[in-house]
Symmetry: C2
Subunit: 465 residues, 2 copies
Amino acid sequence: MTNYKPVTEEVLEELRKAVGAEHVKNDAETLERYKTDEEPDAHYHHLPEVVVAPGSTEEVAAVMKIANKYLVPVTPRSAGTSVSCGAIPVFGGIVLLMERMNKIIKLDTDAMYMEVEAGALTSDIQAKANEAGLLYAGDPCSADSCMIGGNIATNAGGNKAVRYGTTRHQVYSIEVVTPTGEIAELGNRLKKCSTGYCLDQLVMGSEGTLGIITKATLKLLPLAPYRLDILAVFTEVQKAVDLVPALVKAGLNPTSVEFMDNGFVRAASDYAEQRLPHYEDGSYVIVTVETFNEDELDMKMEQLDEICTACGATDVVEADERVWKVRRSCLEGSKALSKVSTSDDLVVPIDKIAVCLNHLMEVSKQFDFECMCLAHAGDGNLHFNCLKMDMTDEEWEKQLAEFHKICYAYVYSLGGRLSGEHGIGAKKIDALAAYCDPVEMSIMKTIKRAMDPNNILNPGKLIRA
Amino acid sequence: MTNYKPVTEEVLEELRKAVGAEHVKNDAETLERYKTDEEPDAHYHHLPEVVVAPGSTEEVAAVMKIANKYLVPVTPRSAGTSVSCGAIPVFGGIVLLMERMNKIIKLDTDAMYMEVEAGALTSDIQAKANEAGLLYAGDPCSADSCMIGGNIATNAGGNKAVRYGTTRHQVYSIEVVTPTGEIAELGNRLKKCSTGYCLDQLVMGSEGTLGIITKATLKLLPLAPYRLDILAVFTEVQKAVDLVPALVKAGLNPTSVEFMDNGFVRAASDYAEQRLPHYEDGSYVIVTVETFNEDELDMKMEQLDEICTACGATDVVEADERVWKVRRSCLEGSKALSKVSTSDDLVVPIDKIAVCLNHLMEVSKQFDFECMCLAHAGDGNLHFNCLKMDMTDEEWEKQLAEFHKICYAYVYSLGGRLSGEHGIGAKKIDALAAYCDPVEMSIMKTIKRAMDPNNILNPGKLIRA
């Protein structure tokens, strides 16, 4: 581990020169605010020594030069919506805020792209595209509060990934400040390219360990004007998850395929005060299909109905606002049952969803917590929520750790991975070290050391270099 | 540059032990055969010192260990169909043949993937998928003779990239032997993943400089049963290329959009002895649309007809076998006009195709060679063919170099790149050094040096580390 140095008055002075004194804060209240992101557990919290808010790419680069000169670690932070401790300054030092760089720089409706700064709000980007009759297809569930830089750094997923891919597939190019403070433009606005290493994809999803994303050029798509949402109700979980591969094979190209097990159906329905069919024993699959003309929508609607029925759905109904109200109430519904809970973010191949779901729900019965499953089923991404209920802290932590250990080993045995969309951050760094292929891990460390020789940028995240 | 050592008898003996004596050849005839790939120009040729054909991943790894121990460079070679000198052993040493590793290991029709060895023929993979009612969407024009390992290493493109992306988008994971002889599985069979660095995409398209691809797990897609090909004839080039963004915006999602300028129309029609409308003054755009049901096809056909007409097409006809015969005769047609010719592989953003085509065709008139353009227009990939005709060797080389210089600078000024699908290889290594962003180049070199400290793997390609 690098022998980091404290943030001295000398360092502060250089930072003030670089970004302006008003954007360098080290009062107790500010430091306190940035000791965590979405993580409520104080075990994971760490105070920064200073919080810096640069206003331009050049200022970000200047901060990185100073950090390397004085051996001070830097933790980049967009909106701080990470649920994997991705924005926590594990080794203190500088928290680097991207929030001042929040502009939408350019929207080109003809060429269908948008240039944005890293601190632009994801929902602003979506809205701006929609106003122009276009779609920005990245859609993490936290779109209203998260920023695009963080989305790209984590390769955020969301509801539409089954059709459009994750955030890394929505990006033409990124402007990046390297760990040593150089500025690079990686990627390009091309549909096809065999010119050099694919560095843009390397930096995207590296959770701010290989570079700070300062700007991005985003792909926009034609906005499909016709949309249909259906709710398929299943009384057997197995049949519900078997629907997914059937949809894929039919070439239906759904925009989203969301799954709620009966635990979530009941918790969310109770919270939303909304009873839908088979509240007592049903699992729900909500499918959204979007098309470019009405006839195509009608055709797909028929096809969808046939496939759901063939897969054993007991009810197939149009999903109106009541259904979405229930779907949106999942988190609150589970919180109403237990103040303390955790949500995991496992991902497996599509054909392993059923076996994974069944096995891990069965395993969970050995434990004292309640377990429920919510899935972006169309892309194999399973969120298992564990509810502490009335367990003691000690038992909860012990049993949860044991359950996670079983889950992770099992998911890897299926060809799955630890995170589908939340990232590794500081939270799963030890798990990744334990389950990752050792040669893959060694290549990751080789690249990190080569690109960040002082281990200055976001240390303690993803890998221990 | 690394101080490479010659392949001594001691090295040969170790190689024979590693892969079997019958798979280690250094007779003059064999060495002669592997001094080039598809490159006819003897300036680029280099003799290897030995040709080695491993039969397994472990043997590939053993060869890399030996190569590092004795400081002998290794040039991996699939089918040798590179047109950028990608398989030429620039520094001698070992040519490593992947042809013995040619098995299709597994086809899973339920989970829709195929596991193959790197030496499997691309057309065999396509055929095997089709037999099972599925599609492998990678489709380089050389599919009948090229191998999947080379496709992945070069990120090969082809006709279907506009709908499905290039080879890198068809791959779930790759087994790789690293430059230092370790074996790693990179990537995974997941639709979504935020677990570690995207090393699979880094190695794919690195043209064999960061790892030797030994196996791959390929994505298969549902095979669309309905297909329609239309030929749109334009008497104004500008209008022909304006069709492309119009198709994209309409959400038509064509499988391919191919463009031939009038030079190619005439050369190919003459060669194929087939006259189509506007032979004298027409540019052709061939559009293929595929759907999952017949009504959808009818709908899209109507839409397509409307869009082509609105864009100013003088004729819109169904593209039957005659049209494809002409399209397939492009290369032969141009060779019939001039024995010596070159084909370049530039790529620009979709909205820059028109301006790029017009400008470079105009520029080409200053030179004595003939210039014609063929384009995978749907993804901005322009092949400019220059025909030497009766120029002297000296004038041809001088003028061609000058034209390329203008082309490359211009393409970069539009946000384009040197290669859309052929790769950089040895042929464009100096051009890449000249036009690549210096920070991007320095990151590429940093990664290459870190992963291949002896610069053993495919030196003299893509970058000079």
